[in-house]
């Protein structure tokens, strides 16, 4: 093969991956619409559409000529620039994941995910695990089939093979080590924090109702403060907040509770963090693999950077407090920054992961990580999940859920076929703490700026160090280049100690 043919091969690959990106963009619209707009009666047709696009995307990636093109392109990789080399390497990674899963399994998985997710919506509402179990069992069977196929192809443990799809290069052995460090430190910290909070004066109640229209208006205002561009995105409502769409059309969702605005507003800030990452990906690589976000750990680090690190900082809460007071037409001691901080930093065991504080959150994730590893290993049957869940909650958090709706049915992940995803929430929290510490060190006025509602120093720093990097580097390379350390628990534990025991920002 001449050099010219080899360069041509890479060009053909770019055209094919551009088509793949367009297909994935279309899938993102279908997914967003299903969660926000679609009437229930549209489920059968939508499942067919989603399965078809999944299959076509899979065929686009796994056509026999792609292997040949990748081999040809490899021959002159040295002639490519740095970004193109990284792009070719990402093409190989994506191709390897796709070819490891047979086409008929892709279709069966897509249908089973759609079916299980729709059943889960009803089963969770009715607190009826028995009605979910058969479909979930079929889905776990298919996911295990996929994990086995990928494990064979990559020479990895099946769970590692799934994990690699969410957080490239991450292995369970490393997670075991990081989570063990958390499990050693967190219970004592939690105990100390709870004692300190119990000894402090009780926070003044934030009394509602908080009308949804006002919450929505406030959410949009704060999105604007954070730099969200409504010409390139939307805010809507879904059962479970998420960020969907594509970088130039970023769709975030939240949910509202008239009795409590705090969760919805922080969900908006969280999803805006995800969205800013997508929007900040390198524009010239929009439709290529190297232009995509670098896995779910880095993604979650961006949402938590905004929600937990900056969003709950004393500086930002001092900016937020008068705006909340104005929006909800109240006054008095309840709306002081100090009182709001007490609400936004209240720590204690609870049943629902998405409502958990940042100290107990990792324990929720450790539970899910262990249970899903056991399910993928065939060591835990779907029928036995509720009992294992409740036992794990008791051991890790000391509480037992009153029912499965507040227990093992609370999350959409497993019913939608996502196994290997949960650990990235806590890995993302570790990364967020590391990134925020580095950002503050690099930009000395950063925290004061947050107090003025000015996120630009943070966004510029993280835009350069993370967003603009796309998938050029591995997750750990991004962290090391931004913070001078690979992923660890140090910054996170220092953050928890500082914020909750020494009342630092």
């Amino acid at each position: 093969m001449t050099e010219r043919n080899s360069t041509a091969a890479y060009g053909v690959l770019k055209t094919r991956f551009k088509r793949l990106a367009a297909l994935q963009g279309a899938q993102a619209v279908l997914h967003w619409d299903r969660a926000t707009m679609m009437p229930e009666g549209g489920a059968r047709a939508r499942a067919e559409q989603q399965a078809t696009l999944s299959l076509i995307a899979h065929e686009t990636l796994t056509a026999p000529e792609v292997s040949d093109l990748l081999a040809s392109a490899d021959e002159t990789v040295a002639a490519l620039g740095e970004w193109d080399r990284a792009n070719l390497s990402e093409m190989r990674r994506v191709h390897a994941h796709a070819t490891a899963t047979p086409a008929d399994l892709v279709t069966r998985l897509s249908h089973q995910k759609s079916e299980t997710e729709m059943i889960w919506r009803r089963a969770r509402a009715a607190n009826d695990y028995a009605s979910l179990a058969p479909a979930l069992d079929r889905l776990v069977g298919l996911v295990r089939e996929q994990a086995g196929a990928k494990a064979d192809a990559f020479g990895l443990d099946p769970y590692d093979a799934l994990l690699d799809g969410y957080d490239p290069g991450r292995r369970a052995a490393e997670i075991d080590r990081l989570f063990a460090e958390l499990e050693v430190s967190l219970p004592a910290l939690l105990q100390a924090i709870m004692e300190k909070q119990a000894a402090a004066p009780k926070p003044h109640a934030l009394s509602g109702p908080f009308p949804i229209a006002v919450q929505e208006k406030l959410g949009r205002e704060i999105m604007g403060v954070l730099g969200f561009d409504f010409a390139h995105g939307r805010l809507d409502v879904s059962h479970h907040p998420f960020t969907g769409g594509v970088p130039d059309d970023s769709r975030i969702t939240t949910r509202y509770d008239e009795a409590d605005f705090t969760e919805s507003l922080m969900a908006v800030i969280h999803e805006t963090g995800h969205s800013l990452y997508e929007r900040g990906l390198p524009d010239e690589w929009r439709m290529q693999p190297v232009g995509r976000s670098r896995g779910m750990t880095i993604h979650e680090s961006q949402s938590l950077l905004f929600e937990m690190q900056a969003g709950r900082s004393a500086s930002f809460i001092s900016f937020l407090a008068p705006r909340l007071k104005q929006a909800f037409g109240s006054d008095g001691a309840a709306w002081s920054p100090e009182n709001l901080l007490r609400h936004y930093r209240k720590v204690g065991p609870s049943f629902i992961r998405v409502q958990a504080d940042e100290v107990t959150y990792p324990l929720h994730v450790i539970l899910r990580y262990r249970l899903e590893r056991a399910m993928i290993a065939g060591e835990l049957r779907v029928a036995d999940l509720p009992a294992a869940w409740n036992e794990g909650m008791k051991n890790l958090l000391g509480i037992t859920p009153p029912d499965d709706a507040s227990g093992c049915m609370q999350d959409i992940h497993w019913p939608s076929g996502s196994f290997g995803y949960f650990p990235t929430y806590t890995l993302g929290a570790l990364a967020a703490a590391q990134l925020f510490a580095a950002a503050k060190a690099a930009r000395p006025g950063l925290e004061e700026a947050l107090g003025r509602g000015d996120f630009s120093p943070l966004i510029q720093w993280v835009g350069e160090k993370v967003h603009g990097q796309g998938s050029r580097l591995t997750p750990d390379e991004i962290l090391t280049s931004a913070t001078a350390s690979p992923l660890g628990t140090g910054a996170f534990l220092r953050h928890i100690e500082g914020r909750y025991l020494h009342s630092q920002a």
Copy 2:
């Protein structure tokens, strides 16, 4: 080829056309979202998604094996049941249209449609035809290229070849004849109606404002009366009302004017007519060509059956009047059925097609039909369109638009590449009159039922005669079987005379 292989070939074709239907369903969601939800900054990414799905649908249809499969399946067509035979025949028709257009032209058309439509939105708002003309000119060039390719493939005139894509089997020669009959009769009828209306007492004004939230609530209520199932559909807002989605997830849109509720409500009734047709298509053929609606003339006959025939009948208006009065909290003579009828039946020349009464509407369509035929024939340049438009309006309706926004830029059709579509609006009006007359004859209590808000006799009749037929018959076969006549102007002209000159229902 053995009979067994031939039957197998048809099965393979069904699988392929099912994939095509799923792709088209996905395209429908992307299209709906673009018109209702998408922020402007998402246009570039969406254009890429839509072009990619168009190209993949085209490849799915035009792959070389499809011709072979169609040839094999043909050999044992006699062994198939009636619906399967009709399905195979529709597969051939759809395949012929697709193979007539080269793949690269499909992509160029898709991109040019997206670009032109987005430019049109701004150009129309700014009344700036000059900014639209270059993109529209490029689009007309591509549509002419497509028309030429189809003309060669089918042995048809280029305009007929486009027309056949919207109304299977329809030819311009027949339209010329029908439109000539209308042009002979309508001006005198219009004159007589306007004189009669001028001599009658002026209607009492319906004074607003009519809050959008109340209009929306009323629209949903009336949709329910008409049989719309919100578990299988939605009502939203777009610049131009339309019906999108798929049969089991039917998305209709309207637009609101706080100063005038009448247009929005009738748009809702119109689109509900389209939607009921889609929902009523034969369920067992959902994902096959024979299960689709039978072209745009029949489709428009269904919307106009509800909007113009039933919706403006004296019976239904007598049902509607007290509900309007209640919704808008008013009383007095303005809300009597008689006064509402005067508003809903006011006739006279106007600039905007979608706001035109049913007497002048055909003249709007005749203008567009002539102009688009001339553009496709290369006899009218895009640059000369505004002048030709204004001259045509003067000749046909006796009025000259004040600007291009109320003139040749008012409709989305040409900027979105739809040439050959406009005549189906008036052909649909002719068909609607024919169908309503036949329905009333077949179901004697039908009109009285409308007075009680009971659409079931109409829906049952039209469901059996039209909706449930899918694409089993040609448009004229559907009409002949339902009304004992092919498409003509008689029923329509009798309807106009009866309603407006003899004050019948």
